[in-house]
C-alpha cells in the first residue's frame, strides 16, 4: 500500500495537458450566468428527440477515451432528475415533443440545453417533414448550439467546456 502511494507520488500526472479552449463562434460566446452557477461540474442527460444517431456516435466519441470530455467536469447521467444540462440531438419529432418538454421540466433549476447537430438547430435536411414539429429551440429554450452534420467530437467537447468553464 505504502509502495503504491509512493509510486503515485513519484510518477504524478501523466496525462497530456488539456488543449486550449476554443470558442464555438467567432468572437466567443459569453459564458451564460447559469453555467457559471454550476461551478465547473455539469451532469448531462442526453435526449434523442428524433436523431439519425449520427450525432450519438459523435457524442459517444466525445465521452470516449480519445476526447475524454469527462476530464473537463462533465458526466453523462441516467435521469434528468440528476442532470444540470440536456444534450438534445435530432429534429424534434411529434412523438418526442411531449417527452422532451417533460424531460426539461424534470431537470432541477438552474438548467441548460445544448442542441447538438444541424437537425437540432434548424431541422437540417428534415425541415418541413410531416413527422417533425420543429427544431429543439421551438420546444425548449436552448443555451448553446453545436453546428455540424454530424458535429465533430471536438465541437461537442468545446460546447461542453463552454458549460463547465474549464
Amino acid at each position: 500500500m505504502v509502495r503504491l502511494w509512493q509510486r503515485i507520488r513519484r510518477i504524478g500526472r501523466v496525462a497530456e495537458p488539456a488543449p486550449e479552449r476554443v470558442s464555438l463562434e467567432a468572437g466567443g460566446a459569453p459564458l451564460t450566468k447559469a453555467a457559471a452557477g454550476l461551478a465547473g461540474s455539469v451532469q448531462v442527460r442526453h435526449v434523442d428527440a428524433g436523431s439519425c444517431n449520427g450525432c450519438e456516435i459523435e457524442i459517444g466519441s466525445a465521452f470516449g477515451p480519445v476526447y475524454d470530455v469527462e476530464r473537463y467536469g462533465a458526466r453523462l447521467v441516467a435521469s434528468p432528475r440528476h442532470a444540470d444540462a440536456l444534450l438534445v440531438t435530432g429534429p424534434v419529432t411529434r412523438n418526442m415533443a411531449e417527452p422532451l418538454r417533460r424531460t426539461y421540466d424534470a431537470v432541477p433549476s438552474p438548467k441548460l440545453v445544448v442542441a447538438v447537430g444541424d437537425c437540432a438547430r434548424n431541422c437540417g435536411v428534415f425541415a418541413g417533414a410531416y413527422a417533425v414539429v420543429g427544431a429543439v429551440g421551438d420546444v425548449v429554450p436552448v443555451s448553446v448550439e453545436v453546428p455540424g452534420c454530424p458535429p465533430r467530437p471536438e465541437a461537442i467537447v468545446a460546447a461542453v467546456r463552454e458549460l463547465t468553464g474549464r
Binding site: 435521469s79 434528468p80 417527452p99 422532451l100 417533460r102 424531460t103 421540466d105 424534470a106 433549476s109
Partner: protein, 677 residues
C-alpha cells in the same frame, strides 16, 4: 369464592347466554347479541386471569358429578391466569369485531353458536386442574374451532380441504397428548395435577421422557411448530377473520401453555436428565422461527403470511422456553426466570399484535374480496383507519424499537447472551446459534411486514376492487382499536405487566420470581446487567423524527420550491402495473434463500405461428411449495393411502366373507387362549 373464580364463572355464564342467543334469537340481532355476550365473557375471562396473576388466592372448583369417572375440577394459578387473560383479551377484540364481520353468510346459527363455545373452551383449558378436565376442554376447543374453520365451506372449495388437514392434525396431536398424560396419570393415585406433581419425583427418566415427548408432539402441533405446522397456513386463511385472530393469537398460545405446564410444573420434580428435552424444544423453536418467517416473507396471500408469522412467533417463544429449561437444568435460576419471562411476555405481545393484524386483514378481505397482496394496494385512500391500524400492527410485529415485539425479543436476546458464560458445551454451542436465529428472524420479519404494509396498503390500487374499497363498520374498527390499544400499551409500558409475568414464571417453578423489575418508565433485569426504557426510547425516536423533519423543512424553505410531476421517463402517467408487487419485492429474498425454499419456476413461451423468432406470449408461474410438507407429509400420506388400498382388498362388500372373518378370528382367539392358559 375469590374474584378470579367469580369472574371465570361469570365468563362461562356469559358464554352460555351467547350460545343460547345464537340459537334462539332472530337473524337480525343474532350477531350483535352473540358478539356482545361473547365480549362480556372475554372481559370476565380477562379479569379472572388478571386476578389470578395478582395472586388473589388459589381459586379451585370441583364438580365431581359433571363427568363420569373422574369428575371436573378447575383451579387458577398465576401461570394459568396469564393464558386466561390472553384468551380473554383476544376474545373481547374478536367478538366485538365479529358483530360487524358477520354480514356475509356467517350469521347462521351453527357458526354463531360455535364462537362463544370456542371462547369458553379456550378459557377453561388453562384453568383445568385434572387430566380428564384438561383433555375434555382441549377437545372441545379443537372441535369448536374446526366448526368455525369450515364455516365458509359452501362458498370456497379450499375451505373443506383446510378443514380436513386441521381436523386430522389436531386430533393426532390430541392422541399424542392423551397418551402422554395417561401414561403420567397411570403412575399417580388419581388424575389431579396436584397428584401428578407429587409423583413426578418418582418417575424413571425414561417414563418422564415418554410423557414429555408425547405431550410435546401434541402441544407443538397446536402451536404450529415446524414440522407439525402444516395445518396452520391452511386453516388460518380459510377461517373467518375474527376466528383466525382468536385461533392465531389465543388458541395457538395454549400449545405453549401445555409445554410449560407439563414440562416445568408437572414434571418439575423429576430429578436430572432433562436437558435434552429443552435443547430439543429450543432447536424446534429456532427452526420454526426462521422457517416460518422465510415462508411468510415470500408468500403473497395476506392471511397465509400472517399464519406463517404465527409459526415464527411461537418458535421464538419456544426458544425462550427451551432456554429457560436449559438454564434451569444447569441450576441457573435467574437466567431461567428471565428467559421464561421473555417467552411469556412474547406470548402476550404476539396475542396483541397478531389479533390486530388478522382483524385488519379481515377488514381488507371484506372490503375487496381478495387476500392476494398482488391485487391490493392503494387502500390508504378508501380505508384510512384500517391502513393506520395495520401499519401499527406491522410495526408492532417487526421487532424494531417503538414496536411491541421489540421488548420481549430484547429480553429473549438478553437472556441468551447472558447465558453464554454458563458452563457446558451444549450451552456454549446452542446459545450463540439461538441468538443468530433470533436476529435473522427479526430482520426477515421487518422485510415481511414492510412488504405486507407497503404493497398491500400504499401506492396505487392494482385491481378495481381495491380501488373501490370502503372503510369497515364501527364495530370492526372498535375491535381493531382495542387490539391496537393493547399493542401501544404493551410497547410503551411493559412494566405494567412484568410483575404479573414474574409471578407466572414463579408459579411454573422454572426460575426465580421477578426476573425483571418494571418501573413506570424503565425496566431493569435482576441478577444480570441490563435495563431498557421503551417509553424513553419511543420519545427519543419521536423527538428525532420531528427534529429531522423540522430541520429539512427549514432548510428547504430557504430555496424556491417548484411542484413538478413525478418522473415517468417522459412516457406518460405511471400505472399500477409499474409498481413493486409482493412477488417482486420478495424476489431477492427468494434468490438468497433459494436452497432452503426451492421455488418452482415455470416459464412458457408461445412462438408466433409464422416464425420461431417472434414471441407471441410469455407465461410465468412461480410457486413456493412448503418443502417440509413435501418431504415429510407426502411419504406418510402415500403410506396411509397404500395401507388403505391394501385394506380394501380384504373388504369386498361380501357379507359371507365378513362372517367368515368373524368366525375365523374367534376360532383363532379361542385356540390361542386354549394353548396359553
Amino acid at each position: 369464592m375469590s374474584l378470579a373464580g367469580t369472574a371465570l364463572g361469570l365468563a362461562m355464564a356469559a358464554a352460555a347466554v351467547a350460545t343460547l342467543a345464537a340459537v334462539g334469537s332472530p337473524a337480525r340481532v343474532r350477531a350483535a347479541a352473540v358478539g356482545a355476550s361473547t365480549a362480556i365473557a372475554g372481559a370476565a375471562g380477562l379479569v379472572a386471569g388478571v386476578a389470578a396473576m395478582a395472586g388473589g388466592g388459589a381459586a379451585a372448583v370441583e364438580l365431581p358429578g359433571l363427568l363420569p369417572l373422574s369428575g371436573v375440577a378447575f383451579a387458577l394459578d398465576p401461570l394459568g391466569g396469564l393464558f386466561l387473560a390472553v384468551v380473554g383479551g383476544v376474545a373481547v377484540a374478536a367478538a366485538v369485531y365479529g358483530i360487524g364481520y358477520a354480514g356475509h353468510g356467517l350469521d347462521g346459527r351453527a357458526v354463531q353458536a360455535s364462537f362463544p363455545l370456542f371462547v369458553a373452551a379456550m378459557l377453561l383449558v388453562p384453568a383445568a386442574a385434572t387430566v380428564g378436565t384438561f383433555l375434555v376442554c382441549w377437545e372441545l376447543m379443537a372441535l369448536t374451532s374446526l366448526l368455525l374453520v369450515v364455516a365458509e365451506h359452501r362458498r370456497r372449495a379450499e375451505v373443506a380441504q383446510a378443514g380436513v388437514w386441521y381436523a386430522v392434525m389436531s386430533h393426532l396431536g390430541f392422541v399424542a397428548i392423551l397418551v402422554g398424560l395417561l401414561v403420567f396419570a397411570g403412575h399417580a393415585p388419581d388424575d389431579a395435577f396436584g397428584s401428578l406433581r407429587a409423583v413426578a419425583g418418582q418417575l424413571s427418566p425414561a417414563v418422564g421422557g415418554v410423557v414429555f415427548g408425547a405431550t410435546l408432539v401434541g402441544f407443538a402441533a397446536k402451536a404450529g411448530i415446524v414440522p407439525l405446522h402444516a395445518w396452520l397456513p391452511r386453516a388460518h386463511p380459510e377461517a373467518p377473520s375474527h376466528v383466525s385472530a382468536a385461533m392465531s393469537a389465543a388458541m395457538v398460545s395454549l400449545g405453549v401453555y401445555g409445554i410449560v405446564r407439563v414440562g416445568f410444573d408437572l414434571l418439575g420434580g423429576l430429578p436430572g436428565g432433562q436437558r435434552w428435552w429443552w435443547l430439543l424444544v429450543m432447536g424446534l423453536g429456532a427452526v420454526s422461527a426462521v422457517y416460518g418467517i422465510l415462508q411468510a416473507a415470500v408468500h403473497t396471500d395476506l392471511k397465509r403470511l400472517l399464519g406463517y408469522s404465527t409459526t415464527e412467533n411461537m418458535g421464538l417463544v419456544l426458544v425462550g422456553v427451551g432456554a429457560a429449561g436449559t438454564f434451569a437444568a444447569a441450576g441457573r435460576d435467574v437466567l431461567a426466570g428471565l428467559a421464561l419471562a421473555a417467552a411469556l411476555l412474547h406470548v402476550i405481545n404476539h396475542a396483541a399484535f397478531k389479533s390486530l393484524l388478522f382483524l385488519a386483514a379481515g377488514s381488507v378481505l371484506r372490503a375487496t374480496g381478495s387476500r392476494d397482496l398482488d391485487e391490493l394496494g392503494g387502500l390508504r385512500a378508501g380505508m384510512p383507519a384500517t391502513t393506520a391500524l395495520f401499519g401499527l400492527g406491522a410495526l408492532a410485529a417487526s421487532a424494531l424499537p417503538p414496536g411491541t415485539a421489540f421488548v420481549s425479543e430484547w429480553l429473549l436476546v438478553q437472556s441468551l447472551v447472558h447465558g453464554l458464560p454458563a458452563s457446558g458445551v451444549a450451552t456454549a454451542v446452542t446459545m450463540p446459534v439461538a441468538v443468530a436465529a433470533v436476529a435473522l428472524t427479526a430482520g426477515l420479519a421487518v422485510a415481511t411486514f414492510v412488504k405486507a404494509f407497503g404493497v398491500g396498503f400504499l401506492a396505487k390500487a392494482r385491481s378495481p376492487a381495491a380501488a373501490k374499497a370502503r372503510e369497515s363498520p364501527a364495530t370492526m374498527l372498535a375491535g381493531m382499536g382495542a387490539a391496537a390499544a393493547a399493542c401501544v400499551a404493551l410497547a410503551l409500558f411493559p412494566g405494567v405487566v412484568l410483575p404479573s409475568v414474574g409471578r407466572a414464571v414463579a408459579a411454573s417453578g422454572a426460575g426465580s420470581a421477578d426476573p425483571v423489575v418494571g418501573g413506570a418508565v424503565s425496566m431493569r433485569l435482576v441478577g444480570v446487567a441490563g435495563s431498557l426504557s421503551p417509553l424513553l426510547l419511543a420519545t427519543a425516536l419521536l423527538v428525532a423524527v420531528v427534529g429531522v423533519v423540522a430541520t429539512l423543512r427549514l432548510v428547504a424553505n430557504r430555496y424556491a420550491r417548484r411542484v413538478a410531476p413525478l418522473w415517468d421517463c417522459g412516457a406518460g402517467p405511471l400505472t399500477a402495473r409499474m409498481e413493486y408487487t409482493a412477488t417482486s419485492f420478495a424476489e431477492p429474498l427468494l434468490r438468497v434463500f433459494d436452497d432452503v425454499l426451492q421455488p418452482e419456476l415455470d416459464v412458457d413461451v408461445t412462438h408466433h405461428r409464422e416464425s420461431r423468432y417472434l414471441v407471441e406470449a410469455v407465461e410465468y408461474r412461480r410457486r413456493v411449495p412448503d418443502r417440509v410438507e413435501r418431504r415429510l407429509y407426502r411419504p406418510v400420506l402415500a403410506a396411509a393411502r397404500w395401507w388403505g388400498e391394501a385394506g380394501r382388498r380384504l373388504a369386498t362388500g361380501s357379507v359371507h366373507r365378513y362372517l367368515g372373518y368373524g368366525f375365523y378370528s374367534v376360532t383363532a382367539l379361542l385356540i390361542v387362549l386354549a394353548v396359553t392358559r
